[in-house]
């Protein structure tokens, strides 16, 4: 008998059917991956099970008995726990305080901290989730914080654990550790639902896969009888190229040269500590690293959004160290910013207005400060066509496009300008498989046309798939460099978290032996 069963769940939002008569079941002792693209309805379904959303129709059964779950409180009462993508932890509190929050042991309003600490230690040891009960959340790594979230659910007696995109914020090492923990948990009798859109994780961690598309379950399979390609076909509904074909690079002259660059962040702390790099035409240099290690400040300094403290940046031998954005654009720098909605687009502008941002002050778009409508419309129509932006017309506001189309819009503008250097930060963040393929093809096409490409991404897979050279950034410095062929995720992952060369080699040697 399944511990959790959902029957014929239907949930609609105004204008959208998020779940249409979806049924699934979950047994004790298994990890089920709920796989689907953005918008497929996986999180909706799990939010219904956890009581965050009320279904229009359908029922939830726990241990074969129908239950009414109207809030997370009800869900916890029947043994369902959920770990969200964004953690819900009180940062200044300790691990123990966070875990017992809301269910503190003690009496008359006085918390028995000794008892609380004891229970936390007990649960953490029993499940192999080591964590210091007295550490403050703010001092813990993201991976550790996630562990605390899982402990929180276990402390509340969860037998069914739902994890929403748990690996999005983790390094490769942390992902592996997480999967080991999850395996141990199901071995001890738990049931786990893993919401994800990452195919390799499904193959690695799941016992069973339920694939959703457009609000419906379109298939169910096990990793042993399928591969990533087969899963992708189910998920998208057509054949998808997961890793775009990458021909060998033909590096030309050095186009971007950065020397001994120092850049401060908003608080005046050194975010980039004297780095140097060269990017040749016809070459993609990828910067790997955990978020917040100076990548943003480096990119902003290169494109002219932030003034470097010292050092030198030059493009084709011309110094642009202190050039503002207007000048770097004129010099041939295009920038795909990490946050397309905040930095990349004016959501209240129509597509045509967005497509000329950056070209709005110079010929052919404008002469003597007057914008030529006809030229703007021609450019808009051409760029929308060339970059396959799905829209009825350029008169649509950018805010009304889907995420994938918005990113295409940014690419259409930045690449349509025919730059010398493309600086792309997180170019596929939040996009689904189909859109990722498109973006990757375009970036490679730029390289093959002889452009220099500098790419920053938290997705190690992406860095490894596209880059001809990989630089690993840690605490504002480049701590390692790899050529495309010699990079492996394990070693890069270690450098990303501050490991040294010796540790990296030991890890790889150990991995090889084991």
């Amino acid at each position: 008998m399944s511990v959790l069963a959902l029957r014929e769940i239907t949930k609609t939002f105004p204008g959208v059917v998020a779940n249409e008569r979806v049924s699934m079941s979950l047994d004790a002792g298994e990890i089920v991956a709920l796989l689907g693209e953005n918008g497929a309805g996986k999180s909706t379904l799990m939010n219904v099970a956890y009581g965050l959303l009320a279904a229009d129709s359908g029922e939830v059964l726990v241990d074969g008995e129908p239950v009414r779950i109207r809030s997370p409180r009800d869900a916890i009462a029947v043994g369902i726990g959920m770990v969200h993508q964004h953690f819900m932890l009180v940062q200044p509190f300790t691990v123990t305080e966070n875990i017992v929050l809301g269910q503190e042991p003690g009496r008359f309003g006085v918390i028995d901290f000794a008892e609380a600490r004891k229970r936390v230690r007990e649960i953490s040891e029993r499940n192999g989730l080591e964590v210091d009960p007295d550490a403050r959340i703010a001092d813990l790594s993201v991976g550790m914080q996630q562990r605390v979230e899982i402990l929180k659910a276990l402390y509340r007696g969860a037998r069914i654990l739902i994890l929403d995109e748990p690996t999005a914020v983790l390094t490769p090492q942390e992902v592996r550790e997480l999967f080991e923990v999850l395996r141990a948990l199901v071995d001890s009798g738990l049931a786990i639902v893993l919401i994800t859109h990452k195919l390799d994780e499904v193959m690695l961690a799941a016992d069973r896969v339920i694939v959703m598309r457009d609000g419906r379950v379109v298939g169910e399979t096990t990793p042993s009888v399928t591969d990533e390609r087969g899963l992708a076909r189910l998920m998208v509904g057509r054949d998808v190229v997961l890793r775009v074909e990458r021909g060998s690079p033909h590096p030309g002259d050095v186009l971007l040269e950065v020397d001994d660059l120092v850049v401060d962040d908003e608080r005046g702390l050194q975010a980039v500590r004297g780095v140097g790099l060269k990017v040749r035409g016809g070459e993609i240099v990828g910067i790997a690293g955990v978020d917040g290690n100076g990548q943003r400040e480096l990119v902003e300094a290169i494109v002219g959004l932030r003034r470097p403290k010292s050092g030198r940046i030059s493009l084709k031998g011309r110094e642009i160290t202190h050039a503002p954005v207007r000048e770097t654009i004129a010099a041939g720098v295009s920038h795909v910013p990490e946050d397309r909605q905040r930095r990349g687009l004016v959501l209240q502008f129509d597509l045509a207005e967005n497509l000329i941002l950056g070209d709005h002050a110079r010929p052919p778009v404008a002469t003597f400060g007057v914008v030529h409508r006809k030229v703007v419309e021609d450019i808009a129509e051409r760029r929308i066509r060339d970059y396959d932006v799905r829209t009825p017309s350029w008169r649509v506001l950018a805010g009304n496009l889907s995420g994938g189309n918005q990113q295409k819009l940014v690419l259409a503008r930045e690449l349509g300008r025919d730059p010398e250097l493309l600086v792309a930060a997180q170019p596929t963040r939040g996009l689904d498989v189909g859109a990722i393929e498109f973006v990757h093809r375009r970036i490679l096409a730029e390289r093959d046309e002889g452009k220099a490409v500098l790419m920053v991404s938290m997705e190690l897979d992406e860095v490894m798939a596209l880059s001809d050279r990989i630089l690993v950034m840690y605490r504002g410095e480049f701590v390692a460099e790899f050529a495309a062929g010699e990079a492996d995720a394990e070693r890069i992952g270690l450098f990303m978290t501050g490991g040294t060369t010796r540790e990296a080699e030991a890890a790889v040697a150990g991995g090889g032996a084991g």
């Binding site: 918008g39 959303l53 995109e165 999005a168 959004l305 654009i329 004016v346 959501l347």
Partner: protein
């Protein structure tokens, strides 16, 4: 999926029309309805009152002239505030920039009285615009350089302007009559009234300033929609970070936007001096309030230049008709102030209404996003 997108697009198009025209119109009707209740409660006859108001505002050439007269400065100040709003700047000090424009007109009008009219008037108006812009420049610079909030600085500068004018009309530019005023300008620099070039109408006070105001609205529309500067202003107003990423200098755009706003307010002052008063009075004791009413005009017009003309006309008609309402229906002119206040209230309430609509949409979207969180 594509179908749902279409729905969103069409819905927002419909919402836009509603926001631009429908909701302001409804706010005006609501304000008049509540005004009627107040009139009835205070013992008046609402129907007679509004009939008298309409009669007073549009009943004949003289009445229409009076409405146009009062509409003219409100177009300028409405445009001034609206232009600032487009760059997300709240120019609350249009009153002071107007006073500086009036000062420029009174001064240059005396200096340039010898020039041919066709040359003198454009020069004097230009002077008014420049003085208004100059008065907005310091707050603009403070905003651009150190981020000092323009609501505070333009307001403070407004008071400085009013007292500066006070001193000038009693001191350096006084006509020595004992009344705080500058000497009367030569009629060669007056903006002529409509009866001078429209045959067959009785003397009216409406003057050429109205035509200049309409032209200014057209120019503001053109600048906003057809120039690099207007594009930059709107981009910075909507999303400064994206504007910056497109090579637009937030600092320069702020300075330009606030100075143009000040110039438009300055034109209001110059137009009043050349067209109506033909001299400058003390601004502290006889402050027009045009700068502040301009805020209401811009709000009602949703910062749209065409809308500003109509919103200004509404407020102009209310002001022109209130006298007749008092005479004919024995209603206190304060009722007009109350109705003006109510209009502003309901315009704000309209934002509340649209905020609710948007919030509902956003909630739906958010739940969808939660639903398909990557």
């Amino acid at each position: 999926m594509s179908e749902t997108r279409e729905v969103v697009v069409r819905e927002s198009g419909w919402l836009k029309v509603l926001r631009l025209v429908g909701v302001p119109f409804i706010s005006v009707l609501l304000a008049m309805a509540v005004g009627s209740v107040i009139i009835a409660v205070t013992g008046g006859d609402p129907v007679a009152a509004f009939a008298a108001l309409l009669q007073g505002a549009f009943g004949g050439p003289v009445q229409i002239g009076e409405t146009i007269l009062r509409t003219t400065p409100l177009i300028f100040t409405g445009l001034a505030v609206a232009f600032g709003f487009r760059a997300n700047l709240f120019n609350i000090g249009a009153e002071g920039q107007l006073a500086m424009g009036a000062l420029a007109a009174a001064w240059f009008g005396l200096l340039l009285a010898g020039l041919p009219t066709g040359l003198a008037i454009p020069l004097v108006m230009l002077g008014g615009a420049l003085f208004g812009a100059a008065w907005a420049f310091v707050p603009a610079l403070l905003k651009a350089r150190v981020g000092a909030h323009e609501v505070i600085t333009t307001m403070m500068f407004s008071w400085i302007a009013l007292y500066l004018v006070s001193w000038i009309v009693t001191g350096p530019l006084s006509d020595k009559s004992g009344i705080p005023e500058t000497p009367m300008l030569s009629s060669s620099v007056w903006l002529v009234t409509f009866d001078k070039f429209i045959a067959g109408i009785p003397p009216v006070r409406a003057h050429l300033g109205f035509i200049i105001a309409l032209a200014a609205a057209a120019v503001v529309w053109w600048v906003l929609s057809r120039t690099t500067l207007g594009y930059s202003v709107r981009a910075v107003g909507f999303n400064p970070q994206a504007a910056e990423n497109g090579g637009i200098s937030i600092a320069w755009t702020t300075i330009w936007a606030l100075c143009i706003s000040g110039a438009l307010a300055g034109l209001a002052g110059a137009s009043e001096v050349l067209g109506v008063q033909h001299r400058l009075f003390d601004q502290v004791s006889t402050s027009s309030g045009f700068g502040f009413t301009g805020i209401a005009v811009a709000l009602l017009a949703k910062n749209n230049p065409t809308g500003v003309v109509f919103a200004a006309l509404l407020f102009g008609a209310l002001a022109a008709g209130s006298g007749n309402m008092q005479l004919e229906a024995n209603i206190s002119p304060q009722i007009i102030n109350i109705i003006q206040g109510l209009i502003i209230f309901f315009v704000a309430a309209d934002s509340i209404v649209t905020w609710f609509i948007k919030r509902r949409q956003r909630l739906a979207l958010e739940s969808k996003v939660v639903a398909d969180a990557e």
